[in-house]
Symmetry: C3
């Protein structure tokens, strides 16, 4: 018994098996095979290793964005001069990655709770009190109907903030058309946890003195983190005067694609601009619901009565989106890439077999040309896939 | 020397090697083997190609969301009539993808800086001045203790915004219970950079006239971008009157799964609704810290004294989340999918070998049935894995 | 004809082919080969299965975060006492996942529209009216120039909100330095759609009574969802008094890595803290544009004139980021992992061949030691890759 175990053990450790080989001598097939092997080899080296960097582990970034607008606008509406600065035109105020820059507005001052008639804009017509359901609310309406029909305007009377906002006419040109010259400063920090790397878009070449003067330009200043609003709008395919009037949304993409095998200095952001909501350059068709607007109220008390100023704000909404990706050499993905390359496509270095082994193991056949028609080529391809998988055996 | 190189070269290019084959004739094993091969083949075609679309490259979307609520509520609190419109009940105002719709509130008007006693809610009891550490702040308290204990209420005196908010009783029914009928309009734009495709949730069939009337319904109007708040709440598994009273959070998922090999018109969003924070349909258990509320202050000056109205706002928080994914045919993943399919599982088309080759290369064994017990079947499975990997050689 | 089809059919189903094997008896090579096989086997079991859990399908979470600060600060600025509570110092108010806690500010009260001179901070000097372009705006300026140079301050006269904010001196120590003791409560809900699992960071052990008292501590209370602001700041590598003065940004990462094959109770969050924008622990260098601040205005009407209080707010911005990932056993990835393991590395269980088969199929060679120099070892490695791929054939 003991000797059986011992023999099995020694068999297991001291013998190994390998398929027997046939050496086929045939020019046409062999050349096709070598070409296929070459293609596979260049695929693995060129694509898997060079292009897709299969030898790296990849981490995606945790990112944080802080924004700050600068610039003032001066308006003169029927003799009333007014200056607008950043605290007046940015919503929300705290420097978020998604914010709105007001470029136009419809202001309804002195609204207070009460009864008044609906806006005669054609959507809320009535001919008699029967058309105005008491206590009901119309989707296109601004308040709760009292049940009366105002005969002057042919609209229902409503309980609402009165007077009702009249937004039938959007100011043209936009009130804050000088918003074009506002500047946007973006501070973006990314963290690659896996590699313990923290990086900011204020890279080495962006120092304080440069930032005091620079303005982003794709060719000359691609790293300057200060952007002119008009440039952003135009780069994303919009027309500024159009977007300033009715509003619009723009995506600013900060793209980090870092190869951490190189010096960290080469890890730099790229800025791209997209028009969102279908009026950008990629989408010329007419679409419903263009523009970007929202309503906003400032409340105050006057003579013991609560009042509000309602603003319908049109503006440029900017969404800053960060794509961060870093790769670094790692032994596991390298082995896996080589392994699956060798495994799937079998790129084995061909080792010249010694003469003796060749004699011992191989059997050579000479196929004559009559057996190598098109059908044979297909056979070779099929065969070759096999060889690609299993490689050569030269022992 | 020259002739040696020449011969090596011609050997390399004009010869190739392939394992020698054995042809085994055995019904039982062969049938098992064919069945396994069939299973593998259907796995690759059915799963890898049909289901997982292994022949496509995939891109995830950059997305932007804009929201707009509509609707008014009318309240009558002890004779004081008031109308609430969108500028009054949405936080923040600018149409973000995450926002809160106020459905209930506790308002504390006329707060001003000063000294007053803590709320006698059982959390901040004191029996003597020694219990009220001067200059300290209790986690459950509302201000800085002055060191005195108010004997009437048995609570510490504090320096705070006075009077202190009394939130022991949440209004029931919720003050703005008609919020159920508000509508939410969602505009969502997605960009697949890799394929240069921009798409909006206002797809072809959603035109202006449709949008004026439609309301989302899973069966009848699955593409209408206008949602009734009550429907959203119910679809996510909450009870509206409950959530309106104490607040709650709901996730609206916009799911895009686009096959760009088809016409772009088939790339449509799907809307799904999730209850968050443990009161939704997926989670019946009682959990701590239910509800959703936050505090908000409106400041004003009265008789030269700064005052504020503190609002404890209960509401429905809606988080809109976009999952965008598009696939398109590409040659590289197709080859990789075929390659790894062939490589790993070796689905080779079996080519009938010519009689001559069979004679030349193969050796046929006939195994009798005595050698094909259960142990043999396992051997076959093991063997089959080998065959699956290395396929057949028919030259 | 019929019989030919029948025979092909029976050939296809009742025969199968397998490569012929050579059994090589050579200790040195065989041992190397077995060691390589062992390494590969442990790679697959240890790495692919144990470490990377290759047998699971993975889903990433949809998450929602709600935050709530607590705490009050008491300030005494030149005799004017004031208490600050959560409605006064958090921006935005609605409990977002990204918010700012004010720790310091520069307040400019009573600003109104008018003409005044620029701040004499060295950036906006002028010597004569010619330096002040009428109707223009300087990037470093606060308003639109009127064309006059104020000779007292040597700065241009501007049309602006007057008086201009003077932010040359940042209050030191920070006004709200007691912000260190504020607490942050985080409620985080995650949903794994694929597995129909909803989970909150208020896990089983975090009940109401625990939450009333607990405070996050990495060692003793790693699951308590209540964090002291000072602790967060210190854990992220900042110095609190520094960050409170000029502001800063901190990322709070909630990391969920759940194995749903275990009981759901083991699915717990981990909290991590990162300093963002280059002043954290990972980045000691001096960088431009330190700090975090934004401007905010409160508007009011006094004697029929619109005025505002401008606040330059310095604070700690907290971005809460959720990484959610859950794995669960699934048959498809298990088969794929085994398949590619077997396929690429060919870990086949070695089945002892019966003596008869060995006689039938194999041919044994005894290589003498003279043929096993270093060159042979390489040959073995190469060979071994083949064996790893194609395994053993023992039929």
């Amino acid at each position: 018994m003991k000797s059986v175990i011992k023999r099995s053990f020694s068999d297991f450790f001291f013998e190994y098996e390998t398929p027997r080989q046939v050496l086929v001598k045939n020019r046409r097939i062999a050349v096709v095979c070598r070409i296929i092997q070459l293609g596979v080899l260049s695929y693995i080296i060129g694509w898997v290793f060079m292009y897709e960097k299969g030898y790296q582990t990849v981490d995606t970034a945790i990112s944080s964005v802080f924004t700050k607008m600068k610039g003032v606008s001066f308006t003169n509406i029927s003799g009333k001069e007014r200056i607008w600065d950043v605290a007046d035109y940015v919503y929300p105020e705290q420097g978020d990655s998604s914010f709105v820059v007001m470029t136009n507005y419809i202001s309804t001052e002195g609204q207070k709770q009460g009864k008044c008639h609906e806006l005669p804009d054609g959507k809320n017509k009535c001919t008699s009190d029967a058309d105005c359901d008491e206590g009901k609310y119309k989707r296109t309406g601004n308040g709760q109907m009292t049940g009366k029909c105002d005969t002057n305007t042919s609209t229902c009377e409503i309980y609402s903030w009165c007077p009702v906002e009249d937004d039938r006419q959007i100011p043209d040109p936009p009130i804050l058309w000088t918003a074009e010259n506002y500047t946007l400063f973006i501070k973006n920090s990314i963290t690659f946890r896996q590699f313990n790397v923290v990086r900011s878009n204020l890279v080495e070449s962006v120092n304080q003195s440069y930032m005091n003067k620079c303005l982003y330009n794709r060719q000359t200043d691609p790293l300057c983190p200060i952007f002119r609003l008009g440039d952003i709008v135009e780069r994303s395919g919009f027309n500024f005067s159009e977007i300033a009037r009715v509003g619009g949304a723009i995506g600013v993409l900060i793209d980090w694609d870092c190869n951490l095998d190189l010096n960290i200095r080469h890890c730099k952001p790229k800025y791209e601009f997209y028009g969102l909501y279908g009026t950008g350059k990629n989408d010329k068709e007419e679409k419903p619901s263009l523009g970007y607007n929202f309503r906003y109220a400032k409340y105050y008390v006057e003579d013991k009565v609560e009042k509000r100023t309602l603003m319908k704000v049109f503006g440029v909404r900017i969404d800053i989106i960060v794509h961060g990706r870093a790769g670094k050499f790692d032994i596991i993905p390298t082995l896996t890439a080589i392994g699956s390359g060798v495994g799937i496509f079998g790129v084995n270095p061909t080792l010249p077999p010694s003469q003796k082994e060749r004699e011992l193991q191989k059997v050579t056949y000479h196929l004559n040309h009559s057996t190598t028609g098109p059908c044979r080529i297909i056979a070779c391809l099929h065969k070759q896939l096999f060889n690609l998988i299993c490689g050569h055996s030269n022992l």
